[in-house]
Each structure stands twice: as structure tokens, then as C-alpha cells.
Amino acid sequence: MKYVLLLFGTIDDVRCGEAGPEGAVEGPGPEAFMAFDAELEAAGVLAGGFALHDPETAVSLAAPAGGGDPVITSGPFAESREFVGGTIIIDVPDIDAALAWARRCPGVHGGRVEVRAIAEY
């Protein structure tokens, strides 16, 4: 059974607690995510995933329902405080196992990890 861990950050804290210019908050950096990846790999449950560049660099396309040309805008949906920073796909027996991994994901610190079952078509 495949689950995706959607790693969310908030716009106000794009670096997700990672030490900013003031160096005040020390959150998980890229090394923490790489270490987590390696752990998943070693356990044989890693089934994919990717990291994304800053939400600032996103381009959004949206057309009204029923047709029309899509409007292109810079950045993610302006109203949303959250953005997807990356995904990790794991292949585990059930939701309990998925949650056990998600609990250890560095993304939970200063961000939010959403666990979703992947639909197989």
C-alpha cells in the first residue's frame, strides 16, 4: 500500500524553521531530510518523492470551469498560507506503519506533514 507524505510549509516561514538570517530558530535542514530518506531507503519502504524549489518560483495556471483560456500568475495560490515543499512516497502495509514513519519525518517540525493514501487506477 502506497502513501504519500505531503510536506507542507507556511508562507510566513518559507524555510520551515531552518535558521534564517537572524539565525534564531534552528529547524530541520536539508541534511535532516537526506538522513530521513536514507533511513526509508534502508528500511526498504521508500517508493519515490521529490523536493521542490521555493513557492516564490511557482507559476499558477487556472481557467474558469467550463472553458476559457487559463490565466497565468506568478507564485502559488495567493490566498493560501500553505505550500507543498516536497513529497515522499512510502510503501508500507497500513496506515499505522505510514503514521509511524510520518511521525519521524523532519517536515513535522515547523511545518505540517499530510499523509494520504495513493489511489491506484
Binding site: 500500500m1 502495509p93 497500513d94 496506515i95 499505522d96 503514521l99 499523509v115 493514501a117 489511489a119
Partner: protein, 434 residues
């Protein structure tokens, strides 16, 4: 179990030839549906790993029994018969599904394996079916489900209530309850919630979720019995029935024993809780001679067992209920012991309502001056400000202190916050008396 109870030879001459066996079968099936349906369902979920399939197959098996037993008589081991039949029906359904949909072909191997297991287990062991309801309890009360979903799943699959009965009990429209059940089942299936007893590391938290659901059902029933409507399904009894199942399967978990003790002891007071006029009778005024002796004895023994297992939120609440149960009348209540138990409870289960109950107990122990001081300390708490028993407790204490004006104001506040007519009538009466 008698042999072939519905068989023609069983009937005395003069009995209605056609109706009598049918009625007997209906009675037997009714009892089985009530007591053992959840067991059957749990065993099928364990074999087939699919709640919907298990539910349909259980339904099929009962329908088959209703058709066949009036002719063949009730089998020697009706539950085993139902299990074998349900397993066959489940396999039939799987075959049909498989023939119909391409998608299921991918599950072929897994299903074959499960089917093999089901066929192998059930007819070979017709005496008993294993009680796998604990697994089902943990699945229905999985922390990824919303609490109200946990409640409806537990009542549907373990208490065996219909969706309409659950809707009626919670005063929710039937379609709303149906939607809630459908959503919960979908979540169970899509996210693949495991049907198993959690390992020892997770067990305390997961068990506590199961007990919370059972106690929620009980509390809902308790509040309802104080109301005007007596038409609602008796949720207090359903909760006790559920707790008995968990207790039978986990006899050494003190919190399970404690919860059962607590509910049984509260239920024992039911005959005294409502006056002839339908108004609630508070604990000090209850006629303790009408308390249910059998339930009291059972509850006291359970509370003792629970306490021996170490303190937990439910075992301590069970112990508090036991202290009340042991007092022949309100005046001889051992308030020192009750305060001591609340001292433990505020640490184990901190919260405004527990702090309020502790303040009331201190007032009973040390007198109303001390009591009102403790209660007034809590009046800044926003949760208690909206909690009518808090204002009721203040009113009672102020009356004891001979401060009728303040007492009346507290009764008015309590009246405004009351949840049902009987409570409101009662509080109005108390305001009037003050």
C-alpha cells in the same frame, strides 16, 4: 443448546403446526443477532479483511437461517452454522465481484489465500468461532477517525445497532448519520486502517481511545435519561454491554475494569435518579434503598479489582463511585476518601470539570465556607462558566451558607444553561425554593 429445537417432534399436540417453529426460530435468531452478530462480523473481517464484505455476508447468513431453520430446525451449534454459511456467502460474493471487475483481478492471489483460510478454518472447527471483536474495537476507534465517526462505527459494528437507531439516539437526522457512517467506512478502507490489537507500546493510548468512545456513549445515554424523551435507545445499557465485551477479552487491564465499574455503579442508581414527576433527583436526595443491589455488588467488586491494578483515570472514578455506593445515606459519605481520590484524579485527568468536582467534595468535607472559596476560585474558567452543574454546585453551597440572593442568581444561570426540559423544570423549582 437443544437438538433441532424447531423440529416437528418437539411440538406438543394442539400447537399451531406452521407458526410455532417459525416463531422459535425468530426468537433464536433475534437473540443471536443481538449477542453474537458482532462476533460473527469480527471473525469475518479477520478472515476477509473487508468490513463491507463481512457485513453483507453476515446479513446473507441471517437471511439464509431465517429461510432454512423453520424447515430444518435450529442447528445444534447455531453460531458455527452462521459462521460457515457467512464464510461461504462471502466467497460467493468475492467470486461474483471478481467476475465483474477487472480491478479485483490484481488482488487475485491475496484473495485466494484468504478464501483458502476461510474455508479451511470454519468447517474444520465448528464448535467455536474465535472472539476477534477486540481487533474490530481497535479498528473502529482508530485515532485517524473523528471521534463521532468512532462512535458510530462502534455502535454499528460492535453494539449491532442500526444506523436509524444510532441517529435517533443522538437526535441526528438519519441521512446525516448514514453519511457519517459512509465517510467513516470509506476512510477505513482508503487509508487501510488495520484490524488488529496494537502492540504494547501503542496499547495504552489506543485502549484509552476505545474506552473514551464507550464512555461517550454512556454519557450521552445518561444525559438523555434525564430528559423528557424515553424513546431513545438506551445508550447507557449499550455502553455497559460494550465495556463487558472488552472486559471479557482484556480482564487484566485495570482501566477497562475501572470503566466498567464506574458505569455499572452509576447505572445502579438509575431507579433513584428520576422522581415520579420525571424530574432528576440529585444524589443527596436519592432513596438509596431503590439502588440496584446486583449492579452495586458487581460494581464494587470491579472497582476493587481495578484499584488493585494501579491508578488510572477510570479506575479512580470507579473508586469514587464505589465510595458513594458504600455509604448507606448521603450524610455518611466518606468525603475524606473522596477528596483524596479527586486529588489523584486531577493529576491523572486534569480538567475544569474534575477540579470542580474536587472543590465540591472539599466543601462537603470542610464545610460550605471552604467549599464556596474553592468554587469561586474556578469561576474564571470559561468552560465552567458555560457548565450548568458548576452553577448548580455554587447555588447549593450558597444555600447552605444562608445566602439566598446569590443562590437564586446561580440557579438562574444554571437554568439558562440546562440541556433539556426535565433539567430546566428541576432548576426552576430549586430557584423557586431558594
Amino acid at each position: 443448546m437443544g437438538t433441532e429445537r424447531g423440529a416437528p417432534g418437539d411440538r406438543r399436540p394442539g400447537e399451531c403446526e406452521s407458526a410455532a417453529p417459525g416463531l422459535a426460530v425468530r426468537d433464536v435468531l433475534g437473540a443471536l443477532r443481538r449477542e453474537d452478530r458482532s462476533r460473527l462480523l469480527a471473525a469475518l473481517v479477520a478472515r476477509f479483511g473487508d468490513l463491507d464484505l463481512a457485513e453483507d455476508a453476515t446479513q446473507d447468513a441471517f437471511a439464509a437461517a431465517l429461510e432454512k431453520w423453520p424447515v430444518t430446525g435450529v442447528p445444534d451449534k447455531p453460531l458455527a452454522w452462521l459462521m460457515t454459511t457467512a464464510a461461504r456467502k462471502a466467497i460467493d460474493r468475492l467470486r461474483r465481484q471478481r467476475a465483474l471487475t477487472e480491478r479485483l483481478a490484481r488482488l487475485h492471489v491475496e484473495q485466494e489465500h484468504r478464501v483458502a483460510r476461510a474455508v479451511e478454518v470454519s468447517p474444520a472447527d465448528p464448535d467455536e468461532i474465535p472472539d476477534e471483536r477486540l481487533e474490530l474495537f481497535f479498528a473502529c476507534c482508530h485515532p485517524t477517525l473523528r471521534v463521532e465517526e468512532q462512535v458510530v462505527l462502534t455502535l454499528r459494528y460492535l453494539a449491532g445497532l442500526t444506523t436509524a437507531e444510532i441517529a435517533q439516539a443522538f437526535l441526528v437526522p438519519v441521512p446525516t448519520m448514514q453519511q457519517r457512517l459512509v465517510r467513516a467506512k470509506r476512510r477505513m478502507r482508503v487509508t487501510r486502517i488495520p484490524v488488529r490489537v496494537p502492540g504494547s507500546a501503542e496499547l495504552p493510548d489506543r485502549l484509552s481511545a476505545v474506552l473514551t468512545v464507550i464512555y461517550l456513549v454512556f454519557s450521552e445515554g445518561y444525559a438523555a435519561t434525564e430528559g423528557a424523551s424515553h424513546l431513545r435507545t438506551d445508550l447507557t445499557q449499550e455502553a455497559i454491554r460494550l465495556a463487558r465485551i472488552v472486559h471479557r477479552l482484556m480482564p487484566t487491564q485495570p482501566e477497562v475494569t475501572g470503566l466498567l465499574a464506574l458505569m455499572v455503579l452509576i447505572e445502579a442508581r438509575a431507579p433513584a435518579r428520576t422522581g415520579r414527576d420525571g424530574m432528576p433527583v440529585p444524589l443527596p436526595d436519592q432513596d438509596r434503598r431503590t439502588w440496584d443491589r446486583l449492579l452495586l455488588e458487581e460494581g464494587l467488586s470491579l472497582a476493587q479489582q481495578a484499584a488493585a491494578g494501579g491508578p488510572g483515570p477510570y479506575s479512580v472514578q470507579g473508586a469514587i463511585a464505589a465510595v458513594h455506593a458504600e455509604a448507606p445515606d448521603f450524610a455518611s459519605t466518606d468525603w475524606r476518601q473522596i477528596v483524596a481520590l479527586y486529588d489523584v484524579l486531577v493529576i491523572l485527568a486534569p480538567g475544569p470539570v474534575v477540579r470542580m468536582a474536587r472543590a465540591v467534595a472539599i466543601g462537603r468535607r470542610d464545610g460550605p465556607e471552604v467549599g464556596i472559596a474553592h468554587l469561586d476560585e474556578l469561576s474564571a474558567d470559561p468552560a465552567l462558566a458555560e457548565h450548568h452543574p458548576f452553577h448548580e454546585a455554587r447555588a447549593v453551597t450558597l444555600e447552605l451558607l444562608g445566602r439566598p440572593e446569590e443562590a437564586r442568581r446561580a440557579w438562574v444561570r444554571a437554568h439558562a444553561l440546562a440541556r433539556n426540559d426535565a433539567e430546566r423544570d428541576y432548576l426552576l423549582q430549586r430557584w423557586w425554593d431558594a
